[in-house]
């Protein structure tokens, strides 16, 4: 007798925004009505749009943003450890993006400039609850292994949809013009 037919389990997707602007997550939502279609194909794990605070075993991890502080490193490693496929989503994750312009700046001078009060007294926030900043903003592939890089600031909703549906249906993701853009 045949085993009872079982529906394939839904793939689990985790997403996170490190040192990004949330624009890539907005682009993910720019798949519009297809978001409801996507919800039939996948379950969301840790993500800024769910209340799951830590990642469980997942099939796909989407990472927006570069790495600018110690907390970003922990979150990124948590995703890498739990996701079979890790994707650098957008310019900041791919190469640091605009926030990496801080890599040219003398941070010490800047700190005293930003956190000077009206009387000229410097008070840099230093509570242990604040994660340590890294010396530079790093692309995520300098911290963990990355399986796919999706460029764009941000990649469009259509680009993300094409990429995800390729991946979810077992095709090798192929992004070509006009979906492949770097701005």
């Amino acid at each position: 007798m045949n085993a009872p037919h079982q529906l394939p389990r839904k793939l689990r997707v985790a997403t996170t925004s490190l040192s990004g602007c949330f624009g890539c997550h907005m682009s993910l939502l720019d798949i519009d009505e297809r978001l409801l279609e996507l919800a039939h194909l996948v379950e969301f794990d840790r993500s800024p749009i769910t209340d799951i605070k830590h990642c469980g075993p997942c099939d796909i991890g989407l990472v927006e943003g570069g790495v600018c502080n110690a907390e970003n490193v922990h979150v990124l490693r948590e995703l890498r450890a739990n996701c079979k496929v890790l994707v650098a989503l957008g310019a900041c994750a791919v190469n640091g993006g605009l926030p990496a312009q801080r890599n040219n700046v003398d941070v010490n001078k800047c700190l005293t400039q930003v956190y000077r009060n009206a009387d000229g007294v410097v008070q840099v926030p230093n509570d242990p609850e604040l994660p340590l900043l890294l010396d530079k903003v790093y692309p995520i592939n300098e911290i963990v292994r990355v399986d796919y890089f999706l460029p764009g600031c941000p990649p469009s909703g259509d680009t993300i949809w094409k990429f995800l549906t390729d991946l979810l249906t077992g095709r090798t993701p192929r992004i070509e013009h006009p979906l492949l853009k770097f701005d």
Partner: protein, 487 residues
């Protein structure tokens, strides 16, 4: 010193962290310190990220700034682009905008109001309201809403889509487009684009009005809860026209006290540094602004939907104004201060923005081709201010003779709400957590208070920094043998 900000004796207290705060934009965490009886002694909302825009903008050409600084935020890029370009209009020496250029800027700004408020209410906050503050946390998200309330989720997704499409038609891209340039706009609107937007606008007005009515009905089911959850009194601030109407794109500053009495009115926003100042606290990268004349203790205020619709005298469109009156009737002539009222006010603003979009699309000037203002003398310093979806947004620049930025100061909307959000989480901690066994659902009450403000923590982390670090090698007698400092 604010109650519950700093515990007198933190050493013996238990720490609970909500980390990360979810269904908000950007990075934040809440820490609570409780004693053995679960009495709350300290509650803080920390902004933990730090990015550096104000500093690395220095040395860049001024015309690059509007498209650079909009990368502060992917939810409200249009507000940063417009606040920056309003300053750069003056720096580059342009006179008043052409009517078409101002209308196109307003069109994309109202489009942004619709999409940003929709994504916040439907995608991020509605799971709490529609599914329950302490419902199953694995389902408490937009997918859960889509399963239980498919029609509401669909309308939310399509309202957001409409706002994003308005932005795309004007600025070329949904997120981080161009559009506004110093002196005007870089592209006219085509007839086809106008008609594309016009065909759906009545539906959008109807849906946004439906969302206001849904919140109103939810309020009627449990007014005691909605009025009192996270309620605290505070001053409020927003931009108004000379006649007192709220204006999202341009106006003068008005601040009112908790009873609606005027603190200041019709203040030229270029002089913001004379009426506002910022305080630094060691436990957050986000500064704490307040009204200078009232001081840090009493001068803090609310911005964003609930603050500005009540600071203003009226809204200029009829459907939205009627809804504003209905909401304010609850206060019996005085402003309302319940934290969850933010959602109601926010949806009223969606109606207002949608009505404004309809009026603009019906205006023949929106299709004009005269996009650039006349050029006059250059200036070295200018301030651009706008009502972003989350509240009043200040951009202040100085530019040298070589066109390069020498100074940049940003006070973003969420920073203006810093003290108010901390006050909201402390009020909720007192109301719901004190002395009780802490559960996930109770902690979500804290997050619900933060979410009501729709904080944009990415925006709030623009200042660059690095933690100074000192390592000391100390011998058993406490003598420092060697010391190494960094940062």
């Amino acid at each position: 010193m604010f109650a519950l900000e700093t515990a007198a004796h933190p050493e013996n207290l238990r720490r609970i962290a909500i980390d990360p705060v979810t269904r908000v934009e950007g990075h934040g965490k809440v820490t609570l310190l409780l004693d053995e009886n679960n009495k709350v002694h300290q509650v803080r909302l920390h902004i933990v990220e730090f990015r550096g825009f104000e500093t690395f903008i220095e040395g860049r050409p001024y015309w690059e700034v509007p498209v650079t600084v909009q990368r502060l935020c992917g939810i409200c890029p249009v507000s940063h682009q417009l606040a920056a370009v309003k300053a750069m209009d003056q720096i580059a020496g342009y006179g008043p905008l052409t009517p078409t250029a101002e209308k196109l800027r307003r069109l994309m700004h109202y489009g942004q109001m619709v999409q940003s408020h929709a994504v916040h209410f439907f995608h991020l906050a509605s799971p709490d309201i529609l599914l329950g503050f302490d419902s199953d946390f694995t389902r408490r998200n937009i997918v859960g809403v889509a399963l239980d309330h498919p029609e509401i989720a669909k309308q939310g997704v399509l309202l957001r889509k409409y706002g994003q499409e308005v932005i795309r038609h004007v600025a070329g891209k949904r997120v981080h487009g161009t559009g506004a340039i110093p002196g005007g706009m870089n592209k006219a609107l085509s007839l086809a684009e106008r008609d594309e937007m016009a065909k759906d606008i009545e539906q959008m007005i109807a849906w946004s009005l439906g969302a206001v009515h849904m919140v109103k009905q939810l309020h009627e089911t449990n007014p005691g809860f909605y009025n009192v959850f996270g309620e605290f009194r505070s001053n409020m601030m927003g931009l108004v026209r000379p006649d007192g109407a709220l204006d999202f794109y341009h106006g003068a500053l008005r601040a009112v006290d908790a009873d609606g009495g005027t603190i200041f009115d019709q203040i030229d926003y270029a002089t913001y540094q004379q009426v506002l100042e910022e305080e630094i606290k060691p436990w957050s990268y986000m500064k704490f602004p307040h009204i200078k004349s009232l001081g840090a203790e009493n001068g803090w205020y609310k911005v964003g939907p609930l603050g500005r619709v009540q600071a203003a005298s009226f809204l200029s469109t009829p459907l939205a104004e009627a809804e504003r009156q209905a909401m304010m009737a609850l206060g019996g002539g005085k402003p309302v201060h319940g934290t969850l009222m933010y959602h109601w006010a926010r949806l009223i603003e969606v109606v207002h923005a949608a009505e404004m979009i309809r009026d603009l699309l019906n205006d023949p000037e929106i299709l004009g081709m005269d996009l650039m203002a006349d050029k006059g003398p250059r200036r070295h310093e200018a301030v651009g201010v706008i009502e972003a979806p989350r509240g009043t947004l200040f951009h202040h620049y100085r530019v040298d003779d070589d066109d390069l930025v020498t100074y940049c100061n940003l006070i973003v909307s969420t920073t203006n709400n810093n003290q108010a959000m901390n006050e909201a989480v402390r009020t909720v901690a007192r109301q719901y957590l004190d002395g009780r066994v802490i559960t996930e659902g109770l902690l979500n009450h804290i997050e619900c208070a933060i979410r009501a403000y729709d904080p944009c923590l990415s925006c709030a982390t623009h200042a660059l920094g690095k933690m100074p670090m000192t390592v000391e090698l100390v011998d058993p007698a406490g003598q420092v043998i060697s010391s190494l400092s960094k940062g």
